[in-house]
Symmetry: C2
Subunit: 239 residues, 2 copies
Amino acid sequence: MTGVTTAAADPVEPKPEKPRRARGEQTRQLILETALRLFRERGYAETTMRVIAKEAGVAVGNAYYYFDSKEHLIQGFYDRNQAAHREAAEQILASETELAPRLRGVLHAGIDVNEPYHSFAATLFKTAAEPTSPLSPFSRESSPAREAAIALFRDVVDGSTAKLDPELRKELPELLWLAWMGVVLFWVYDKSPGRRRTRRLIDGSVPLIDRLVSLSRLRVLRPALRQALALIESVRRDD
Amino acid sequence: MTGVTTAAADPVEPKPEKPRRARGEQTRQLILETALRLFRERGYAETTMRVIAKEAGVAVGNAYYYFDSKEHLIQGFYDRNQAAHREAAEQILASETELAPRLRGVLHAGIDVNEPYHSFAATLFKTAAEPTSPLSPFSRESSPAREAAIALFRDVVDGSTAKLDPELRKELPELLWLAWMGVVLFWVYDKSPGRRRTRRLIDGSVPLIDRLVSLSRLRVLRPALRQALALIESVRRDD
DNA sequence: CTGACTACTTGAACGCGTTCAAGCAGGAGC
DNA sequence: GCTCCTGCTTGAACGCGTTCAAGTAGTCAG
């Protein structure tokens, strides 16, 4: 869920490569709409394919004509939320100029957007976590969405008044995206009411990151920063 | 997958609370042994409960008398690897006295132990990643193994000659375990031959952690350290 | 030795996600 | 109008993990 939330992604790829006709597209939307509603109403595991089909007034097999599996239905949800995060973030970025509130706003916006779907985000997460899954935030298939997400964090950094080491500036967007992945991971596991703990994690981490970023220009920390950047470079390499 | 690998854990809790008799224990072991063998031979998803039962010469229902679910069978696999990691780590801890080599050795030992199961682990990871799964390293069922794993990292810290802030010393074992979880996550996704990138991640991170831990006693960093510790405390709280 | 208790064992049955051979329908070409 | 072609639709059937009412057998009290 929301691993790669943020990007404006193409709205759910169709399964058949054949030219789509109007009737098919209508049925497809009907099934997707019905499924997402039921997921929201009674949860993912409790919603059976049979019920989705019945509620949509089609046969079970019909759902499988348009979607490879029950999990693929979630892709539709996934794609919708990405646009929503982008939009919510845009508002923050237009009104804030300092790094900390910009970052904080964008992270909270991400949680806001995904909060209504927390319970079945966990299920999507199960699929996304599999290294071979196209839903994985690290997969090649997610690469455009991931790039867009990193670009969002580049906006966060570049649009801010923060002064920081130029080397760090280059890496920071990707590091912040990684931190965002960490927040999402925490959020998925967070069972506290209203996801209070995730909110606290954000509110606590952001000033800390902000402080460390400022400190990065301190002489005593230069070697450590160099070391960290070298580590990133060496791990990224795959030779 | 090795999420909680590391500890010497009690070898798979029995389901029935009643006093266990010899016959039951034997059947239990037989089922577990058969299941793990089949998982290794043909993979987790491809091994059905029916086949496990048949191969073990018992009824399907009998497997469910001893194990709550198919997933619970994997716990047996975990528990074994934990013992192996513990043992491998023990050797390092006995011969090294400085923090960095101790940590580095223990992390590498963890990868060594799990390397033969890398492909298997990737499949299992999908299951373990689900927050509601008993296999999740954060689940209640994994709690004894998790505690033991944290204890291992407490050994790493306490047995070393490193001087560090007492507050940090208290938190460091759990933080190192969390870092280990991160390494495992990276490892699962690591497709490089011989898992070179994971090795590099360890070799690069350890000196960095070591340096940061030393720097933590510096005056300029005290406020940041305090802030970080407060963050941990506030996030852990669930009120 | 007998009965009852209980740890252990059974396999048919359930509901699930998924598949597939079979049919339906509406537009293009004649 | 007829005939294909093909996008679309069907629902019985499959194999899976899991459950459970019904049994079996070892043990202990009397």
